[in-house]
Amino acid sequence: EAGVAQSPRYKIIEKRQSVAFWCNPISGHATLYWYQQILGQGPKLLIQFQNNGVVDDSQLPKDRFSAERLKGVDSTLKIQPAKLEDSAVYLCASKKPGQGARETQYFGPGTRLLVL
């Protein structure tokens, strides 16, 4: 079974530029998550999708971050304009439908963003 795919793996941009990340979850996984992991910290949820609907985006800085999952499969996360403090690893995870919180989230390799 193929894992969660993410691209690009690395990105370097200047502040105030825009950037987009892509995620393709494990086939059949209805729930998709984007997490931000700042160096030295644990991942923090940015947004959660169930199929193509948003379940939780309470921690998403909506003035600069946006995300979509139009067809309920792959997803993109965009930052516009980027700030220095957005430098982090952006992790995508997916979970199959089933027993809710009992199910395991599986993570992709992440996209490492450096904002200069």
Binding site: Q48, Q105, Y106
Partner: protein, 113 residues
């Protein structure tokens, strides 16, 4: 509020010795607890989880974790450490509402030859 604490930033152990990585949690209701491992420039890999039942959970690569409800702990253990176990370990709690993972700050495990 739900939270996870990993009190040690780093754990050092010699190869062949037992290892323990500590985790405590705070949650209302039933805790669903997970351990993930992160190698350099890699994503998080699932190790094991506690949902219900037996307090000793066995997972990948010889790791196990003991759930202790009275001490609100979920410590990760391995009887004999390998140098290849050196990595960053995260304990996490998945809430029953929105089902997001709440992570601890991570513990770096360093196994010396």
């Amino acid at each position: 509020a739900q939270s996870v604490a990993q009190p040690e930033d780093q754990v050092n152990v010699a190869e062949g010795n037992p290892l323990t990585v500590k985790c405590t949690y705070s949650v209302s209701g039933n805790p669903y607890l997970f351990w993930y491992v992160q190698y350099p420039n890699r994503g998080l890999q699932f190790l094991l989880k506690y949902i219900t039942g037996d307090n000793l959970v066995k997972g990948s690569y010889g790791f196990e974790a003991e759930f202790n409800k009275s001490q609100t702990s979920f410590h990760l253990k391995k009887p004999s450490a390998l140098v290849s176990d050196s990595a960053l370990y995260f304990c996490a709690l998945q809430n029953t509402g929105f089902q997001k993972l709440v992570f601890g700050t991570g513990t770096r495990l360093l196994v010396s030859p």
